[in-house]
């Protein structure tokens, strides 16, 4: 997969496991906002593909549902470059090589992008079925707002870190409206 857009937004989930589709719903709502300089991807969370995607960009924001025993609808935000993914989100898996595993493996292999933010949203209902619970739905709205602000913040932060040639090349690459 060739990803050239500047900020990669990945929503992870399973459409048919109710609140597990939170990440997918966030991405769909963000698509309507037509954010500049972003590439939006809906993913089922395969770890190997995530590593591949993450190692091909400089800035990524990942959105996924979790069930860590917290309050339904709670929103957690992690800077994956500054901290490992907390244990309660890092489950052992017989089969799926998932999000937390992918991030940590990418870290070991030196394939994390320079910027990776993870939004984890506490789901309420993960049973088989379609549609979100009320709490999850409300959380999706909040996350959409936060992520669209974050896109601008991350851009600014990134520019502060790479002010010279990178800035020029960023401008050349961008095709949308200038956020600065």
């Amino acid at each position: 997969m060739c990803i050239s857009s500047q900020i990669l937004l990945i929503g992870i989930g399973n459409e048919y496991r109710s609140d597990d589709s939170i990440g997918l719903n966030v991405i769909r709502a963000l698509k309507e906002q037509e954010l500049p300089d972003t590439m939006l991807i809906e993913s089922s969370g395969g770890g190997a593909e995530l590593i591949e995607m993450l190692s091909s960009v400089r800035i990524a924001i990942l959105i996924d549902a979790v069930s860590s025993g917290g309050k339904p609808g709670a929103i957690y935000r992690f800077d994956a470059l500054r901290q490992t993914i907390p244990a309660q989100l890092s489950f052992q898996s017989t089969h799926v090589f998932g999000v937390a595993e992918a991030i940590e493996l990418a870290r070991v292999l030196g394939r994390l992008p320079p910027s990776l933010i993870v939004y984890a949203i506490e789901g309420e209902n993960f049973s088989i079925g379609v549609g979100l619970s009320l709490k999850a739905s409300e959380a999706v709205q909040k996350v959409v707002e936060r992520v669209s602000c974050e896109v601008q913040d991350v851009l600014k932060e990134f520019r502060a870190e790479f002010p010279l040639e990178d800035e020029i090349s960023l401008k050349v690459e961008r095709t949308g409206t200038d956020l600065a």
């Binding site: 997969m1 399973n14 459409e15 048919y16 496991r17 597990d20 993913s43 089922s44 969370g45 395969g46 770890g47 190997a48 593909e49 590593i51 591949e52 549902a65 979790v66 069930s67 860590s68 489950f91 052992q92 898996s93 017989t94 089969h95 799926v96 090589f97 998932g98 595993e101 940590e104 493996l105 870290r107 070991v108 292999l109 789901g123 993960f126 049973s127 088989i128 079925g129």
Partner: protein
């Protein structure tokens, strides 16, 4: 450690929906229960009243790891009902797509999930600290499988290019040709993988299984053939439900699939290999011999070697198909829907996947039945745990727990269809 209970609980997202439970009393296994919820039941209901043309894409959503298998079983079953025959290059393209999925799925399991068990690591991340180049090789091989699925399926996960009668769009010879270099690299990497897995330490554990797989007159099976076993079964797929039944068991929402009058059976790489060794390509047969593997393997822990051989076969077969490919005149054969019942089995990475559809004259799905490989292996996994724990009962608790989990992973169970996460702990009585 005379009395104890080993429990595996599915965590978090699906809490309470499934578990493994092994009870030990006086150093004997007194009970084993493996519970796996079955999402296909939901999809069966979901399919009723939909058009036949939606079945491949809806069922592909059952599993993020083996969507091609669901699509293939769906289209073959519906084509059987409609009397559609897909031959020649279109059939070859379907085999090529299946090669991609086997590579993706098997490589993921070998490198990321199963190998860490043998090498004493809790996961691939820890393994990667000591074996970064090995893990990178696995990721690169998987990417090659993804490239096949992306090209033929329209995208890497949940391919959308498959339809009843063929494909929406067939790739040009040139497009397929672009895969050749990476497939050649993948074939070499697969040879190395076979040798690498063959030197892992294996517990001594052989059982007298009934292996069930497809068997085709000339091909190593993907999507055509009769259903055969090493104990005399030899039936057309349309007779599946006369020989296999699903039983309700008290401890699980899931149905256990059994062979009528015979009980548990074994599907997946080991079954395919044991029943079809002579259908592997010469290169794959030779690699098996060099790895010290006989043409029959009854140790489920060695399924990691057999998966590697199937990966090698898939690369080899993919290259053969691409070499002989010519763009078909039409991407799909023409047909008219007709009322009827159709069924099919294809070889998903983890074993036979059965679909049956009852269709109206307009092509509406009136009824659907889906039996995934993992529910067919469920009873065999329970038997393995019972026999393995009995034989290893004096091991320290942490090792025994570890090996129970490893014994489940021998089957690469498609728990992801139902659940994402599994953890394991022992509870003493």
């Amino acid at each position: 450690m005379k009395n104890k209970t080993i429990k595996v609980d599915y965590l978090a997202r699906v809490e309470g929906e499934g578990a493994l439970y092994v009870k030990i009393r006086d150093n004997k296994v007194s009970d084993v229960k493996l519970k796996i919820i079955e999402p296909p039941r939901f999809f069966e209901a979901f399919l009723r009243g939909r058009m036949y043309s939606e079945a491949p894409d809806i069922t592909a959503r059952i599993c993020g790891i083996c969507p091609v298998a669901y699509q293939m079983s769906a289209v073959h079953a519906i084509e059987q009902a409609f009397g559609v025959k897909v031959e020649g290059q279109l059939r070859e393209l379907r085999r090529l797509l299946y090669c991609g999925e086997w590579i993706e799925s098997h490589v993921l399991h070998i490198y990321m999930l199963h190998a860490p068990d043998f090498l004493g690591y809790p996961d691939a991340m820890h393994m990667a600290r000591d074996y970064p180049e090995i893990v990178k090789r696995g990721l690169k091989m998987k990417k090659t499988g993804n490239a096949i699925v992306a090209l033929l399926g329209g995208r890497e996960v949940h391919p959308i290019n498959v339809r009843v009668g063929g494909f929406y769009k067939a790739p040009s010879k040139q497009e397929l040709g672009q895969l050749v270099e990476q497939l050649k690299w993948g074939r070499e990497a697969a040879l190395e993988t076979v040798l690498w897995t063959a030197q892992l330490p294996f517990p001594d554990f052989e059982q007298d299984y009934e292996f069930v797989a497809l068997r085709h007159p000339t091909e190593y099976p993907f999507n055509k053939g009769r259903l055969v076993s090493n104990k005399g079964l030899n039936i057309a797929i349309q007779d599946y439900e006369n020989h296999f039944i699903e039983e309700h068991v008290a401890h699980s929402n899931a149905l256990h699939s059994v062979l009528k009058g015979r009980g548990a059976y074994f599907v997946g790489p080991l079954a395919r290999y044991n029943l079809n060794f002579d259908r592997l390509s010469p290169l794959a047969q030779e690699a098996a011999k060099n790895a010290g593997l006989d043409s029959i393997c009854k140790n489920p822990f060695q399924s990691i070697i057999v998966r590697s051989i199937e990966v090698l076969y898939a690369f080899d077969e993919a290259l053969r198909i691409i070499e002989g490919y010519d763009l078909p005149e039409q991407p799909a054969v023409e047909f008219q829907p007709q009322a009827g019942i159709g069924s099919a089995c294809t070889e998903a990475p983890r074993g036979i996947l059965y679909h049956r559809y009852k269709l109206s004259g307009e092509g509406l799905i009136l009824d659907a039945k889906i039996v995934p490989p993992t529910s067919q292996n469920q009873k065999t996994i329970e038997n393995d745990l019972r026999n393995y724990v009995e034989q290893a009962i004096l091991l320290p608790e942490d090792q025994l727990t570890w090996q129970c989990e490893q014994a489940i992973r021998n089957y690469d169970p498609c728990i992801s269809c139902a659940t994402h996460f599994l953890t394991l702990y022992i509870e003493r009585e």
